[in-house]
């Protein structure tokens, strides 16, 4: 594959699309699929065929458009219109609206902050391209970065470009990506691996799923560029088995890229070869931890091991291994296409680019959003999220999943970046963002996350295995109205113990939801111990002297 050949494929594809007067995109990613997106797609296709408009209307299944709460979504690209909550019965209305320009099902305005306040880099193709066709990706500048890189740049130059861009790991910890790449590259000439961590497991988080389902080639391209930069020959995509559509689309994508010579042996006629395989996770949250993930790929029990040695030095089968998150890889191609300076111009001083969040909870617009780093939480919740429904007040925002913390309303004007979130006890995390209003009980929230950590602890180290059980027991007692002030002291002691002595991030992060809720909502804990659940959530705890019905 040469640059000319690639451009030709892109040109042919664009020409073919232009021949249609109307382009109708139907979301068939997991969110809309669950509300019947596939049936809507079939119905619209059938309607177009029956009304003899096959040569005028292109109907394609695309990935996530973001506003999952209004699914299934249908967008008419050529008219710039979007329809929400479309049913298969409304297919004639959709098709009928094309020529007349009027009518159609419930329209979803696209000139609202939800769409306008976003900045899309990772999700730029999501909801636009057909994830099952490599040509569509190529027509949107896909694989341009890879082909140019192999032809024109040395691995060292690629790494320097990534370093200059300021890209940091999107898995949560925010380790500088360029630094990680350069460490793996420095290990010399030997067998090396590139792993894409797609074992997304935080409750309520689905950023990686959306990218893999909607734009799988972007991740493969990022992995191939990374492999070229660090000198790896083999890559693994570790995807959780609960994402069947992502796995299916990835398999298709790998086959297509192989066929076009964009993956496989001597890519683009160079000496660089890169093969990618998929490995399925069997449902263990801890396998998102890099050393546990590596053990799982090796066919062993998925338990973490102490670091150092870090995977960059000794990873998969003891070889140097580069392991990055889906979203990190998805940022690579745009950086190389548009230059490091462009990327570094977005975001804050230390956190560059954008971050994808799965916005969920008590907020009007739920779904997938991509925002520039540095935007405030208040802007995300009130503008993009459309505020809290039913006239309720925002109480807290939870970021970072079970290892993250609850940020109280008073800190909502903080910018979203790695350092700011850390400074108030939470973390960026992989991108889960749960909004809570007055009806949420913070002790109950802490109990929920602790239960998650307890059942997902791998059981290897004692503080995490037995400590999370003890903490959960205390929280269960408190929410059942049986807590004592001594329990709160014991809980604090356990938080300190588990955080500082656990082997991996799961245990070290497990106390964070408790610590942040105790720090910012101490009053609620005290109220529970005194026999009252202020939010009225905890059954068995009195509310204003009256027992809440169980």
């Amino acid at each position: 594959m040469t640059i000319e050949e690639l451009r030709k494929i892109a040109e042919t594809e664009r020409e073919a699309e232009k021949r249609y007067q109307h382009r109708v995109c139907v979301c068939t990613a997991a969110g809309c699929l669950s509300s019947g997106g596939d049936h809507v797609l079939d119905a619209i296709r059938k309607e177009v065929a029956e009304s003899g408009m096959k040569n005028e209307v292109l109907v394609k299944g695309v990935g996530c458009m973001g506003l999952c709460s209004a699914g299934p979504l249908v967008s008419v690209e050529t008219e710039g219109k979007m329809f929400a909550n479309v049913t298969p019965e409304e297919a004639p209305d959709v098709v009928g609206s094309l020529d007349t320009g009027a009518g159609g099902p419930q329209e979803c305005p696209t000139n609202v902050p939800f769409f306008e306040r976003q900045k899309k880099i990772v999700l730029e193709n999501c909801g636009k391209i057909d994830p099952e066709r490599i040509e569509d990706y190529i027509a949107h500048d896909g694989y341009l970065a890879l082909v140019h890189t192999i032809a024109e740049r040395s691995p060292q130059e690629v790494i320097q470009e990534i370093i200059r861009s300021g890209l940091r790991g999107r898995g949560g910890a925010g380790y500088p990506t360029g630094l990680k790449w350069s460490t793996v590259a420095k290990t010399g000439e030997q067998e090396k691996f590139v792993i894409c961590n797609a074992d997304e497991g935080d409750p309520g988080a689905f950023m990686d799923r959306a990218v893999l389902e909607s734009d799988p080639h972007r991740v493969l391209e990022g992995m191939a560029i990374a492999a070229y930069a660090v000198g790896a020959q083999k890559g693994f995509l570790y995807v959780r088995a609960e994402y069947p559509l992502a796995v299916k689309n990835l398999k298709t994508a790998i086959r297509q890229a192989d066929r076009l010579g964009l993956l496989g042996n001597s890519i683009c006629g160079s000496r660089f070869s890169f093969h990618v395989d998929i490995r399925l996770g069997a449902g263990a949250f801890v396998c998102g931890e890099e050393t546990a993930l590596i053990a799982s790929i090796e066919g062993k029990r998925g338990t973490p091991r102490p670091r150092p040695p870090y995977p960059a030095e000794s990873g998969l089968w003891d070889s140097p291994t580069l392991i990055n998150n889906v979203e990190t890889f998805a940022n690579v191609a745009p950086i190389l296409r548009n230059g490091a300076a462009w990327f570094a111009g977005i975001g804050t001083e230390k956190s560059k680019g954008t971050k994808v969040f799965a916005l969920a909870g008590r907020v009007t617009n739920t779904g997938l959003i991509e925002v520039p780093m540095g935007i405030t939480l208040r802007e995300v919740v009130n503008e993009i999220g459309g505020g809290i429904p039913d006239g309720k007040k925002c109480k807290a925002v939870q970021t970072g999943g079970p290892s993250g913390g609850c940020i109280p309303e008073k800190h909502m004007d903080l910018p979203v970046d790695y350092e700011s979130l850390k400074s108030i006890g939470s973390m960026m995390g992989s991108g889960g963002m749960i909004v809570m209003d007055e009806t949420s009980c913070m002790v109950d929230v802490a109990k929920y996350f602790m239960e998650f950590c307890m059942s997902e602890s791998c059981g290897k180290c004692i503080p995490c295995r037995a400590g999370t059980q003890q903490m959960h027991g205390i929280l269960a007692r408190i929410t059942a109205g049986e807590g004592t002030p001594a329990d709160l002291a014991l809980l604090e002691e356990l938080c300190d113990l588990v955080r500082n002595t656990s082997l991996c991030g799961l245990g070290q992060g497990a106390p964070t939801p408790v610590l942040t809720t105790m720090q910012y909502f101490r009053g609620e804990y005290d109220a529970h111990v005194a026999g009252e659940c202020p939010a009225g959530v905890c059954a068995g705890v009195h509310r204003g002297g009256e027992e809440v019905a169980k």
Partner: protein
């Protein structure tokens, strides 16, 4: 140019200056110099896993605590192996272990010869201030010579490692997650029905508690014989 292929480092542990080979761990050096660092999952001759977290030490300049059993020495390192903070954590971890399953020393076959018990003694533990969990756990006495009592297991995985690394049978492994974890033989079959078990008994001898014991032993009658382990490891290393 130096002719020696061995690199040596000097460091301090609890203020004492000590010398070490560069491939040694902090725990190795501490033991050589009679500096006490508590351990449970570690056993010389087996691979290290850093699971029990009792050997955590403080390192000057590092905010994190590091497990001495897997942390290599480095030039100029200042190790704090015993401090009030570490003592507090070590007590906490031991108490978590005692509260997790049903450790009743008075009726245990290894009473007086138990690593867990003697460590509690050495660290001066007086009581457990976490609620006891009292899980309901089985005892498997299907093997003709040995018994596994899950009530006394601390999941150190010494049995798993000795069976895999020294005996080469890999009869033992761990199943499930979190507090539900159990050591199992083969695919969670009764030990007596295990086809891979050679009956060598190494697992019983390396077990730090009374979880694995020989049949026919009563309270305090079972003591473990581990002399074979350094010898076997040495023989293996020599053959390489």
């Amino acid at each position: 140019m130096t002719k020696s292929t061995v690199r040596v480092k000097t460091l301090t542990i609890d203020g004492r200056e000590v010398g070490a080979r560069e491939d040694q761990t902090i725990l190795d050096v501490a033991r050589e110099n009679d500096i006490f660092i508590p351990t449970l999952c570690d056993l010389p001759g087996l691979s290290t896993v850093g699971a029990c977290r009792l050997c955590l030490i403080e390192l000057k300049g590092s905010p994190r605590l590091l497990p001495a059993c897997v942390t290599r020495v480095a030039e100029g390192m200042e190790v704090i192996a015993n401090s009030e903070r570490l003592d507090r954590y070590r007590h906490g971890i031991l108490e978590l272990l005692f509260a997790e399953r049903n450790h009743v020393c008075s009726v245990c076959v290894v009473n007086g010869h138990c690593d867990l018990q003697s460590l509690a003694l050495k660290l001066g533990m007086t009581h457990v201030h976490f609620p006891y969990q009292y899980p309901s756990l089985p005892v498997d006495a299907s093997h003709e010579r040995f018994v596994v009592d899950h009530n006394r297991c601390i999941l150190c995985t010494r049995c798993v490692r000795v069976c895999d690394e020294i005996e080469g049978a890999h009869t033992w492994d761990v199943m499930a997650r979190g507090v539900e974890c159990r050591v199992i033989t083969d695919l969670a079959q009764p030990w007596g029905k295990s086809e891979s078990c050679t009956g060598c008994g190494k697992c019983v001898q390396v077990c730090p508690t009374g979880a694995l014991s020989e049949k026919g032993k009563s309270v305090a009658e079972m003591s473990k014989r581990r002399q074979f382990l350094p010898y076997l490891t040495l023989m293996r290393e020599g053959r390489k």
